[in-house]
Amino acid sequence: MSVVAHREVAAPGGLWSRLSLGQKQVIWAWGFLAVPLVFYVVIRFWPTFQAFYLSVTDWTITKPASFVGLENYKRLLADPLFWQVFRNTFMYLILGTPISLLISFVIAYYLDRVRFMHSFIRALYFLPFLTTAAAMAWVWRWFYQPVPIGVINDILSSFGIPQQPFLRSTTQALPAVLAPAVWAGLGFQIIIFLAGLRAIPVTYYEAARIDGLSEGAILRKITLPLLKPTLVFLVVFSSIGFLRIFDQVYNINTNDPGGPLNSTKPLVLMIYQTAFSSYEMGYAAAQTVVLFVILLVISLVQLRIMRDR
């Protein structure tokens, strides 16, 4: 009887003490994990879901949102600007990723063999990566100006070559915007490539040289295959970077962002303008969802390729 009474008294506060040590550890662990988890849910996932919801409404900041179904998506697919922007975005990707990887690999490959002032040269290549994209875009904007102030055109015309329109041309503008973006990313890619090259055991090279393999064969048979994880990482990383390109484009032509005639406008800039200058939040959310899907598909495909390795 007294035992029962004792247990009844202890019961209310005893839920915790009745748990085993293992259970307690689990609860503690979840207790701590909950903090970043809640943070992520509130800061990341909740807005993401809200963006999905917004994409089926006609919210404009000032007007309350009302459900419009797939209206925004229909409008998007019928919008010639969207398809132009879509093409541009992929042009940044298709041009930017291979070119930047090729250049950075070549630089890293030869820099790896340079002993003289190695760290200094490496630092020089890395420097643009530390620079603000906005500041860089402004400097390049002036490089591309027509004479008398554009450095590039001044050089061209001093050699008697006709000056080029660069940013004022629908065909030259996109490569012209891409150049500083590639240049800025080089430093990072070179460092990663260098680390990848250093990680390849020297013994492989020694064995190959003893066997009399040519430098070209060493590159093809040893260096490149062993560099594949690095390469895949850089491909994924720079692809996402080029798909999300924004600050370079916006700042290199602030008076006509994404111009001329939308020839340099990427998807992110279109989203920005729809949301924060036209205030069509619902339509902008629909564009964001499309960008999300594109990024998701590309990342999944690339992860798949990585697994096939």
Partner: protein, 417 residues
């Protein structure tokens, strides 16, 4: 003993309250950061508080880039200003969002407003109600570089008065290098600057058309006059070769650097051009057409009372709005910011009219038009693209104009929903 202490402290408290005006109604005023505007408003608030010790005005400012978003978000959340500064072109958005309230006719009679202010203030009127009043207005004029004029053999005191004279002067003042590249422009071409306003409200009218009808909700420039206006503009580069879009990046930069003889810009540029040391410049009314017809584009930031202001705050807000749109405030604003007074009487003093710089801008106000933008940036983009299609893309002006009219009409229609 204790009770008496308490009584004494309460009495002291009441006395302090009364003397320092802690009981005063506090209202909040919001505007964007621009050095001289903030300075002018600080002066106005000080003067207003001196005259109205029972009202305290708190000024909040933040960067222009986020201005509209922040104001909208704050007011809708029940926070934010009681009196707010807004660009006239945002009025529809602010009304649609129930962010600003109509001015009470008892406090601000329409007849008085229409009698005292420049007619462009009607852009703040919806139905019978005014939704805000400006302190200052801005208009456009032609800036010209006297040094380049003199070097080219033109009379620096006789700037172009008509469009033909403008083209002639531009041809004389353009300098090119051996390969024909422009090294100093006769006239700046910058649709992203003020040229789109010049094209829309000035050139189209001067070539016999009207840009819009039905309170600027219907595009009407896709006709002979619009075509002539566009061709006139693009011919400056294509035919006369007196300017080049993108030259020196921006028109105002080219003029500032002394590499453009003429540019069209607004009163808001006076501060920046005022610091030019390298050459002397002048201002003249926008050129007339051959028949002498002139037009101009005027714009302004208005002050409005938000839907948040109620009761005694509303009364205080009305008092404050009255003060900041008074002739006295306009005088301060003109001295500090350099913008023109919105009231006729305050603006058109003999002294101002004869002023070599303010004079041409003020004359422009008399016949100025104000576009009721639905989405100014998007509508500007339409004009930029229209000109780019002709100049960069080599498209026929007629086709480009038709595309522009269609694109702009779509923007206007979407805003109506």
């Amino acid at each position: 003993m204790r009770f008496r202490h308490m009584l004494a402290s309460v009495a002291i408290g009441v006395a302090t309250l009364a003397s320092t005006g802690v009981k005063a109604v506090e209202i909040e005023y919001w505007q964007y950061v621009f050095d001289t505007r903030v300075k002018a408003m600080t002066q106005l608030i000080a003067k207003f508080q001196e005259a109205n010790p029972d009202i305290k005005v708190k000024q909040t400012t933040f960067p222009y880039a986020d201005y509209q978003t922040k104001v909208a978000a704050a007011i809708l959340a029940g926070q934010g200003p009681d009196v707010v500064q807004l660009f006239y072109g945002w009025t529809d958005t602010f009304i649609a969002g129930k962010m600003i309230r109509p001015l009470r006719a008892e406090a601000f009679p329409s007849a008085d407003i229409e009698r005292d202010f420049f007619p462009i203030v009607s852009a703040m009127k919806r139905g019978n109600d005014y939704y805000g009043l400006p302190t200052a207005v801005r208009s456009l004029a032609l800036f010209y570089n006297k040094k380049i004029f003199k070097d080219a053999g033109l009379d620096p005191n006789n700037p172009p008065k008509t469009l033909d004279e403008l083209v002639a002067a531009a041809e004389k003042t353009t300098k090119r290098d051996g390969s024909g590249n422009i090294v100093s422009a006769g006239m700046t071409l910058d649709m992203g600057g003020q040229d789109h306003q010049w094209w829309r409200e000035v050139l189209i009218r001067q070539f016999g058309g009207t840009p819009y009808t039905d309170n600027d909700t219907k595009v009407t420039y896709n006709d002979e006059s619009g075509l002539k206006a566009l061709t006139f503009y693009t011919d400056l580069q294509k035919k006369h070769k007196v300017g080049q879009t993108g030259f020196m990046d921006e028109g105002q930069a080219a003029f500032r650097a002394g590499l453009a003889a003429m540019t069209i810009d607004g009163t808001f540029r006076l501060g920046s051009f005022g610091t030019i040391k390298a050459f002397e410049w002048g201002v003249v009314e926008l050129p007339a057409n051959a028949q002498g017809l002139r037009s101009n584009y005027a714009s302004y930031f208005a002050n409005a009372i938000t839907s948040k202001a109620e009761g005694e705050k509303l009364a205080a807000a009305e008092k404050f709005l009255k003060y900041v749109s008074s002739p006295e405030a306009m005088k301060v604003w003109m001295e500090v910011v350099g913008e023109l007074p919105a009231r006729r009487a305050a603006a058109l003093t003999p002294e101002n009219a004869a002023h070599p710089i303010y004079g041409p801008f003020l004359k422009g106000l008399e016949y100025a038009h104000t576009t009721l933008f639905k989405d100014e940036l998007a509508q500007r983009q339409v004009a930029i693209d229209m000109v780019n299609r002709v100049i960069i893309g080599g498209e026929e002006p007629k086709a480009s104009l038709a595309k522009a009219a269609e694109a702009e009409q779509a923007i206007l229609d979407r805003a109506k929903r």
